[in-house]
């Protein structure tokens, strides 16, 4: 007949209580286990929050009713080229929103890499400067000026994303900055709902082409659609009917694809590092728990002699391991949250330019850290717990008559 569950639970709870109360006898080694788990959690959370922050930044970029047309096979705008003929053909596409005069609401754009000096370390970083066709700002939804005014078409004026202003030299309102042989005046700062556009500098497309000696160079075309539902017909026209080597995606899908690639790279680096560290932490946990079992040989043998079953002895030892790893997880999560959540970071986005984003925590990624910590606890505590169940009961007896 199996043990009644209440008795099983009572035994487990009593032994767990006894184990945990005996922790002060092993303060040093238990603390080292907690700290090693905390370290693993901090590293994992740093990578996960980085990937999540990056993904959120790009996923918050773009609308469903704006199409982005690039060369087929181009991963980003910077690797795309559109000819004047292609642009003319695109303006006749179905599903395009049009002005009162019948002209399509489109913006021909190009991205130019420019160098700026970081204020934090004086190092040079490459930023994206976007040339936008006149009237094209209307196709960057959510973009609002936070300071200053819009650049004037035909002039060497720029507006700067809020995530760049302050982080790079000479990007304050009214300041002048040189990119290559050209000098530009900062006339405005803008926000864009935390999207990737906030990591860009924007100027008039024609002026950018002229200043960087790229006459007629267009990399992408943004097109406002009558609605999101019009996109399939628009895409069919661009990719099939025209058959000019072009690709159309909604703006949202366009950035989401970029987010997926880069966040996968971050996770590809982060998870293996965390797993290697977790392996080390599990070995540390095993050492701690073996010490705990050795410390309680007589106690364990005694309760077994009193009639306690192997199951509660196993679970109580495992529970001690899991509780220590959970304390480590809580400590690591709290430290990571305090130090990293909302921390501004930047990485190379599409086109090898800087993309600024914030490390972002969520219940989901903390949940992943908890799962990893529990795995460390199980891996580190399992063997010692098994050992605890196999202690010869005669150890409880003092004499050997």
């Amino acid at each position: 007949m199996p043990l009644p569950m209440t008795s099983f639970l009572r035994q487990t709870l009593a032994l767990t209580r006894s184990n945990l109360r005996s922790l002060p006898r092993r303060t040093g080694i238990a603390a080292s286990m907690v700290l090693s788990v905390a370290l693993v959690v901090i590293v994992l959370l740093a990578f996960l929050s980085m990937a999540q922050g990056f993904r959120r930044t790009l996923q918050s970029t773009g609308a469903q009713d704006i199409a982005v047309v690039t060369s087929r096979g181009a991963f980003s705008e910077s690797t795309s080229r559109l000819s004047t003929r292609q642009i003319h053909m695109l303006e006749a596409a179905p599903g395009l929103a049009r002005k009162a005069d019948g002209r399509a609401l489109t913006s021909e754009e190009l991205l130019v890499p420019v160098d700026a000096i970081r204020t934090s370390d004086g190092q040079t970083a490459t930023l994206s400067m976007r040339g936008v066709a006149p009237g094209g700002m209307a196709l960057h939804e959510g973009l609002t000026l936070s300071q200053g005014h819009m650049f004037t078409p035909g002039s060497a004026e720029i507006i700067v994303g809020d995530r760049l202003a302050g982080r790079y030299r000479d990007l304050g309102i009214g300041q002048h900055i040189s990119f290559g042989h050209s000098t530009w005046t900062v006339v405005g700062h803008f926000s864009a709902g935390g999207s990737a556009f906030e990591s860009e500098i924007m100027a008039d497309a024609g002026t950018v082409q002229a200043m960087f000696d790229r006459p007629g160079d267009i990399q992408s075309m943004r097109a406002k659609l009558t609605s999101a539902a019009a996109f399939p017909a628009f895409r069919d026209y661009v990719e099939t009917t025209l058959d000019m080597g072009l690709s159309a995606r909604t703006e949202k899908d366009f950035f989401a694809a970029q987010a997926g690639n880069v966040s996968r790279i971050i996770l590809f680096l982060g998870w293996p590092l965390a797993v290697i560290m977790a392996f080390g932490a599990a070995v540390g946990a095993m050492t701690t728990m073996l010490s705990s079992v050795s410390d309680r040989l007589t106690e364990i043998a005694t309760v077994r002699a009193l009639g306690y079953a192997r199951g509660p002895v196993f679970l109580a030892t495992l529970a001690e391991s899991l509780m220590l790893t959970l304390v480590g997880c809580a400590l690591g999560s709290a430290l990571a949250w305090a130090c990293l959540n909302g921390f501004g970071a930047s990485t190379r986005g599409a086109g090898n330019t800087q993309l600024a984003f914030q490390l972002t925590f969520s219940g989901m990624i903390v949940g992943q850290a908890v799962v990893l910590a529990l795995l460390i606890g199980v891996a580190g505590g399992g063997l010692p717990a098994l050992r605890a169940t196999r202690i010869p009961l005669r150890i409880a007896m003092s004499g050997r008559g």
């Binding site: 043990l3 009644p4 209440t6 008795s7 009572r10 035994q11 009593a14 209580r17 006894s18 109360r21 005996s22 007589t298 106690e299 005694t302 309760v303 077994r304 002699a305 009193l306 009639g307 306690y308 079953a309 009961l393 005669r394 409880a396 007896m397 003092s398 004499g399 050997r400 008559g401």
Partner: protein, 235 residues
């Protein structure tokens, strides 16, 4: 008074322990009968097999040959789980070094075997207080073992051994770590449990004073009982 038959029978029991590649015999073909309600003291030099007899009776070690039965139940035929449950119901252990859980209070230590029973929390609490009163330590219920004297710790050990009302107490050198006065108090307590509560007690000891309280004393030497002393006056 306990009237349920719990006679202990060891019939032609042999036991040895491994030592390197060979085995060291502890005893061979040992036979022993301990009737219900007996208080048997087993004395003898170290290495004679005294504690091994307790281990075998308590089901925490197994004989190489022969049979051990208690109340007609052959221990060798029980699986480990059944033996563990049987031990919880029928055997109370008293150890030389008390073996109390150092971070649990006196009351929590006494409660440990009661957690194996279907008693409610209130019933367990009442039982613990009653037993602590019997061993004279009801005012020490909340104390940790480290806050008690050796004699008091052994009283808690005895209270734990009888908490679930087992019929048999196995005592391994219960006075071995105590001063004379405390040792006598423990022996008196064990005698009371035997005389008044009918516990069958098997006690391994080097303490000559044990003969004062035991009903019988056996001297074990080199795996053989070589002398016996009956105490009919105390019976």
């Amino acid at each position: 008074m306990d009237t349920i038959h719990t006679d202990i029978e060891l019939a032609s029991v042999s036991k040895s322990y491994p030592l390197g590649r060979s085995r060291v015999p502890i005893f061979e073909d040992l036979t022993l009968h301990i009737p219900t309600g007996d208080f048997l003291a087993i004395m003898g030099p170290s290495g004679s097999g005294k504690s091994t007899i307790l281990n075998l009776i308590g089901g925490i070690d197994q004989a190489d040959a022969g049979t051990i039965s208690i109340g007609g139940t052959a221990l060798g035929r029980m699986g480990e789980r059944a033996l563990t449950r049987w031990r919880a119901r029928n055997i109370g252990f008293v150890f030389q070094f008390y073996n109390l859980m150092p971070r649990l209070s006196a009351a929590e230590n006494v409660e440990l075997p009661l957690l194996l029973t279907p008693l409610s929390a209130r019933e367990r609490r009442e039982r613990v207080l009653t037993i602590l009163d019997i061993v004279g330590l009801s005012d020490r219920a909340r104390h940790l073992p480290s806050e008690l004297s050796g004699g008091q710790q052994q009283r808690i050990g005895i209270a734990r051994a009888v908490a679930s009302d087992p019929r048999i107490l196995l005592c391994d050198e219960p006075t071995g770590d105590l001063d004379r006065k405390s040792a006598n108090e423990i022996l008196d307590l064990l005698q009371m449990l035997n005389r008044e509560l009918g516990k069958t007690i098997v006690m391994v000891t080097h303490d000559d004073s044990a003969t004062r309280v035991a009903r019988r004393t056996l001297l074990l030497d080199k795996g053989r009982f070589v002398a016996r002393q009956e105490m009919p006056a105390c019976a």
